[in-house]
Every structure is written in structure tokens, then in C-alpha cells.
């Protein structure tokens, strides 16, 4: 059913128009059509508008009924009240799925209008996204059915992160910044009012989607908890991590409680318990949502097997910061074996540190391969499960040299490597974008890097515990 929506072969854009709105801008349907064409949708496009004969060089149909083709997806971009009639047309035509963009339904105190929309869709078995949505983008299928400004970006990067958001605005921002981080996406859905399809329905579909390996969710509330937990269980079974940011922490638990326990338990603690049970990666900072999902996407095949971290940096100060963050988040920084330290002694200037953290000193610059040899040696140790590479101030071209050797080292190992780049980014203007393009996990603080490693470890442990329970 969702195939017809996410992998639509034909789209009717209903409400696209050559006339401008009152403010002189493009109408919603025109915006959507322009984005659809700009992102080179390969399927068939049918503009529908009774007042137009032609739009963007394409013939325009008076009604969806007139389109001489099957329609997989109707993009309904007319005002709320008109949407119901259009939905009836779609139902009569046998349109399989729809996106209803307009707001002005349940969220605006018009529940009857929303009920009418649902009834109209049900009549013809049309499954739909929205209303009150910015639409959906199937990056994997070059299909942009969306009015969010984020679609003004030249291109999205194809990848394996599916992103579901209950806020179109926040979701659009995050897709934009995530794209700037070179995050790769499979699909993006602004779920809107979830009058028909809910977050859990998309999740259920996406867990089976071969193009999706990581799910990111920005949510406010869950409509059907049983469906949601069933989808989480399915994701856990498939080994596809679900990264969640949920708003509503400040809500007071609505239920009146007779016991002291009841008075102490908030809805957030319950949601936390849900996350724990299903291995959900819950982030407590909205700005961590997509970076975390992106890191999972990059390191899903290299989850750390344990808590033992190698910390490599050019200064005792930054090494100490990272070691402290490891301590804070329950990761260990074990002393390297004496044999390993003997080996490192060949690469690192005498005033460096060899025990772990490994301080290579700024003088490592004087050696042609000292840095590479150090990183490789630490990664090869049996008592090391992952490595942090810390960077302080460094400018080009040295920064790009780091980019190259870090990337090479990370690609050559099956252990996770995360970069903590703490120096000025403007002086590493080639290196940092290139590291992102190389799909290297990179954070701009030691804490960010360590928190990400911790999340990877927790997920690994969740999967291991499931395997042990024979689930």
C-alpha cells in the first residue's frame, strides 16, 4: 500500500496554478510542482486545475477523473474545504494514495472537516498522508512531493536514513542541516495530522524497506501505542536502529494518581521505559537527532564491542578532555600493553604520552608517517574497541592531510573511529567538508564524539542481549 505512495510511478498535482496568490507568491500546488520537477522526478506528472489549460509546458486536466492514466499518488494542494471534494474525486478515480497538504482541519478546530476527509478517502480506499503536512520526499526515488523550503536545496544525498517528523517545519530544518552534514537519506515524511497514516504505519513499511537502515523520528505524541511498539519491535528484530527526539518533557502527567508512586511517575519516564525496552536511541537534545542518526548510518557495521577506547590527540589537554568525557559516559580508556607502547615509542616524540590517552604532540608533524602508524597501532590492539581522533588548531594544508589519513585509517578497520575536531573550522575549510563527504563521523566537541560512541555501544548491547535471549 505504501509502495504506491513512496515509489509512485505517476503523480497528479492538484492545485498547481499559473496565477499567483494574494501576496504575489506561488500557490502551494505550484511550489510543490516546481520542486517535483526541479528534483527531476522520473515518473509521470499530471497537473490538475479546472482553470488552466497548461502549466510548465504540461497539459493541465480539469479533474483527476480526466487523467488518462492510473494515479499512484495525488498531491492535493487545494484549501482545506476544497480538499474533501478533491479527495472524493480521487476515490472515484481509484487513486491509490494521496498527500493532503492543506492545514485547517483538526489542528485548527475543524474535526468534522477532518472526519469528512477520512470518510471520503475510505470510500475509495485511498490511503493518505496529512492533512496539515509539508509532504513527503522519497530521496531514494528522486520524488519530491513537498512544499518545505528545504526542497530549494540543490540535491539531497541518497542514503539509508528514513526520517519521520510530526513537525514539518522542524523536520525540514533538520533535513537541511543533515544534508549539509552529508547525511544520506532514503525517505522523509512530514506526517501531519496523521488522520489516516500514522508514524507507526510508515515505520512498519520502512523497516522492510531495503533502502532504509536507520530510522530518525521527531515526535510529539504517539496516536496508537500498540502499533508503535509493534513497529519498534520489528525494527529491533531487523537490527535497524530507531533514533528518537520527543518533545513534551514539560507536560504534566494527566492521569490522577491515588498512590505516591503514581504522583511521582511522569509520562516521560514511561516513554523512556518504552525506549529502553525496544532499544530506541533516545536523544535529549533536538540538535543531536540527525547527527546521531547519521553516525549510526556511518557506523552500523562497526558498532563497538565494548567500552575500551583509544584516545589519540595532539595535546595533553584535549586528550584529558576526551578521557574525562569517556569517564562521564561510562567508557574506559585502558592502558595500552607495554609492547604497544614500545611500538608507539618509535613514532611519537619523547615528550608525548604512550599509555592511552596517546598524546602524539605537535611535533608529530616532523615525521612523515608517525601519525598514521600511531593510529593503526592503537586500532590493532585487542584491548581497544574504538578510537577517538582529536584535533585542536590546525590549518590547511595540514588539515587536509589529517582528513586523508583519518579516512584511510577508519576505512581499514572494523572498529568505530569518531573524530572530535575542536579547532577553528574556517582554517580547515577543505578538510572538514571533505571528511563529511568521506562519511567520517565527526563532532566538534569531545563530548559530542563520546556521546555518539556511547549510543553506538548501547545499541550494540541491546542487540547482543536480544540475541542472547534468542529473540
Amino acid at each position: 500500500m505504501l509502495d504506491a505512495m513512496i515509489r509512485a510511478r505517476s503523480i497528479a498535482v492538484i492545485g498547481a496554478s499559473q496565477t499567483k496568490n494574494a501576496a504575489g507568491g506561488d500557490k502551494l500546488g505550484t511550489v510543490a510542482l516546481n520542486y517535483l520537477l526541479a528534483h527531476r522526478y522520473p515518473g509521470k506528472v499530471y497537473p490538475v486545475n479546472p482553470k488552466e489549460a497548461e502549466i510548465r509546458g504540461m497539459p493541465c486536466f480539469a479533474s483527476v477523473a480526466d487523467v488518462p492514466d492510473e494515479i499512484d499518488l495525488a498531491l492535493i494542494a487545494v484549501p482545506a474545504k476544497a480538499s474533501v471534494a478533491v479527495m472524493k474525486d480521487c476515490a472515484a478515480k481509484g487513486v491509490k494514495t494521496a498527500v493532503v497538504l492543506a492545514s485547517g482541519f483538526g489542528e485548527a478546530g475543524e474535526p468534522e472537516l477532518e472526519a469528512d476527509l477520512i470518510a471520503a478517502a475510505k470510500e475509495g480506499g485511498v490511503r493518505f498522508c496529512g492533512p496539515n503536512t509539508n509532504g513527503l520526499i522519497s530521496i531514494a526515488n528522486d520524488m519530491v512531493c513537498c512544499t518545505s523550503m528545504v526542497c530549494a536545496m540543490d540535491d539531497f544525498k541518497k542514503g539509508d536514513i528514513a526520517f519521520l517528523t510530526q513537525s514539518g517545519a522542524v523536520g525540514g530544518s533538520m533535513l537541511g542541516t543533515g544534508t549539509e552534514e552529508q547525511g544520506g537519506f532514503s525517505h522523509w515524511v512530514s506526517v501531519g495530522n496523521e488522520a489516516d497514516l500514522q508514524v507507526a504505519d510508515y515505520m512498519d513499511y520502512l523497516v522492510d524497506d531495503p533502502q532504509t537502515r536507520v530510522l530518525a523520528l521527531f515526535i510529539e505524541g504517539i496516536r496508537d501505542p500498540d502499533k508503535f511498539t509493534a513497529a519498534l519491535a520489528k525494527a529491533a528484530k531487523a537490527g535497524k536502529p530507531v533514533v528518537v527526539y520527543k518533545i513534551g518533557l514539560s507536560e504534566v502527567s494527566a492521569a490522577a494518581a491515588a498512590s505516591h508512586t503514581g504522583a511521582m511517575v511522569g509520562s516521560d519516564a514511561v516513554f523512556d521505559a518504552v525506549c529502553r525496552k525496544y532499544g530506541v536511541v533516545r536523544v535529549d537534545d533536538a540538535s543531536d537527532l540527525l547527527p546521531t542518526a547519521i553516525t549510526f548510518s556511518r557506523l552500523l557495521n562497526k558498532l563497538p564491542q565494548g567500552t575500551r577506547m583509544g584516545v589519540i590527540g595532539p595535546s595533553g589537554g584535549i586528550c584529558g578532555v576526551c578521557a574525562d568525557e569517556c569517564h562521564r559516559f561510562g567508557l574506559d580508556v585502558p592502558e595500552l600493553s607495554s609492547a604497544a607502547q614500545e611500538t608507539l615509542k618509535q613514532f611519537i616524540p619523547p615528550f608525548g604520552a604512550l599509555r592511552n590517552p596517546v598524546d602524539v604532540t605537535q611535533q608529530i608533524r616532523a615525521t612523515p608517517t608517525g601519525y598514521q602508524d600511531t593510529i593503526r597501532t592503537v586500532l590493532e590492539q585487542d584491548n581497544i574497541d574504538g578510537v577517538f581522533l582529536l584535533v585542536t588548531m590546525v590549518g590547511e594544508p595540514r588539515a587536509s592531510f589529517y582528513c586523508d589519513i583519518f579516512t584511510e585509517a577508519a576505512r581499514a578497520t572494523d572498529k568505530p573511529v569518531i573524530i572530535g575536531w575542536t579547532g577553528a573550522q574556517s582554517l580547515a575549510a577543505q578538510a572538514i567538508p571533505q571528511l563529511k563527504k568521506n562519511q567520517m563521523p565527526i563532532y566538534f566537541s569531545a563530548r559530542g564524539a563520546v556521546k555518539a560512541m556511547r549510543a553506538l555501544l548501547d545499541y550494540r548491547r541491546f542487540l547482543d542481549a536480544r540475541a542472547e535471549d534468542g529473540q
Binding site: 491515588a258 498512590s259 508512586t261 511521582m264 511517575v265 525496552k277
Partner: protein, 232 residues
């Protein structure tokens, strides 16, 4: 298990038939004990003579409490007398309590479990995700410190052990200032027992077990308990 599941079912059914919203402390503990929660040794009595006979069986010192359904805030109502060292003290306390008891109430004589470390166990039903079990720091500071962890049911004993490690005051469960380590396995059985009670009895809306005292030798014992029934 010290009580039986049938007893637990009968207690709940009787209370519902009488329109009670909460079980008496005695009945609450019977229900919980049926699911493996360790509770104080205790007996019901109608009068001072009965209380004295019960205290002989339990051994002094004892605690005397008022016992009735829908009886909350016993301490504030002057219905709890602790540290009764002998029969004379017990009879004095019984006389005071009997004058304050609501109609239909009885006396509850129980062992004086002593220990400085107090925890709590609880169960609530979330409207969306169903029964949840809480474990945390108990006693009178519980609500101020809010040092609790929560899990969805069912909670296994293994899961219960992990809950103990997660409270901020986890160190209290280890050997602490000359006190022995708490019996974690027994505590895990108690946590799992609260979970089992929630699953077995949908008529239970909420459970409060506070405090669970870590008594001599590290054994946990539920000193007070409240089972709240659903109102439908």
C-alpha cells in the same frame, strides 16, 4: 510464596464487592505476598487481648497499626504506634487506636522491622503503554529526591537487578557504613513480584510499597503497602 494466588483473587473480589477503592494494609500485603513480595510478619486482632496474643507469636518489640480499607495517611491520623516493647505498652497503644479507628476497622500487629535503608516499589498503569513498575529510594524523602527508575511490565528478575544499578543511591544497596549488602536477589524477586501482581490482576490500578526496609542480614521487607483498585 507465603500467600496463594487464590487468596489474592478472593481478597480483591471481596473488596470490589464492598465498593472499596483501596485495600487495607493487611490485605494489600497478602496480595503482594502471593506474588513473592516479602512482607512483615503480622496478624489482625479485634481487641487488646487479640493483639497481645498476636504479639506473643511475633515477638516484641512490635508495631501496632489501624487496619481498614480506604484508610490512607495512617501516621497522620495517629493510627501507627511503633516500638512497643512489651504487653503493657501494646495494651496502652491498642486502647488509643481503638478509640480512633473507623467503624469496621481492626488492629494490625506486626514485627518491628528495623533498618536505616528504605526503598520503594510501585506500579502504575500508563494510559498508553500499560502497567509500569517503579523502584527507587523510599521513606519520607522519596518524593523530594525522586530517585526512581521505571520499566514496562513484565519485569523479570534479571531486569529488576538492572533497575537497582540505575538509581543514584545505588550505593545504599551495597555494604554501606557497616551495614551488610542488601539481598539483591530477594529485592529482585520483590520487584518482579509487583510486576506479576500487575499482570495477574487487571483490577489493580496502582500499587505503593513504601518503605521496603533493608532489615537485619540485608533481607528486604515491605513494611507498608497500599493496593489501589480500578474504579470501574
Amino acid at each position: 510464596m507465603t500467600g496463594s494466588l487464590d487468596t489474592a483473587r478472593r481478597i480483591i473480589a471481596d473488596a470490589r464487592a464492598q465498593g472499596a477503592r483501596t485495600l487495607s494494609e493487611y490485605d494489600s500485603k497478602q496480595v503482594l505476598a502471593a506474588h513473592g513480595v516479602p512482607v512483615t510478619a503480622e496478624h489482625l486482632a479485634d481487641d487488646a487481648d487479640g493483639a497481645a496474643r498476636a504479639a506473643e507469636k511475633i515477638g516484641y518489640p512490635v508495631v501496632l497499626k489501624g487496619n481498614a480499607p480506604d484508610l490512607a495517611h495512617k501516621t497522620e491520623a495517629g493510627l501507627v504506634e511503633v516500638g512497643l516493647a512489651d504487653e503493657a505498652a501494646l495494651r496502652d497503644a491498642a486502647a488509643r487506636l481503638l478509640s480512633k479507628l473507623p467503624a469496621g476497622g481492626g488492629l494490625l500487629v506486626q514485627e518491628m522491622a528495623s533498618g536505616k535503608r528504605e526503598f520503594l516499589l510501585g506500579m502504575t498503569r500508563d494510559a498508553q503503554y500499560g502497567p509500569c513498575v517503579t523502584f527507587g529510594l523510599g521513606g519520607i524523602f522519596a518524593e523530594a529526591l525522586k530517585d526512581t527508575v521505571l520499566r514496562l511490565t513484565p519485569v523479570s528478575e534479571t531486569e529488576a537487578l538492572s533497575m537497582m544499578d540505575e538509581i543514584r543511591a545505588a550505593a545504599l544497596l551495597g555494604p554501606y557504613r557497616g551495614m551488610p549488602e542488601a539481598d539483591r536477589d530477594a529485592l529482585a524477586r520483590a520487584i518482579a513480584g509487583v510486576s506479576a501482581a500487575a499482570v495477574a490482576h487487571p483490577e489493580i490500578a496502582e500499587i505503593d510499597v513504601n518503605p521496603v526496609i533493608v532489615a537485619d542480614g540485608g533481607r528486604p521487607v515491605a513494611v507498608d503497602a497500599l493496593v489501589v483498585l480500578t474504579s470501574d
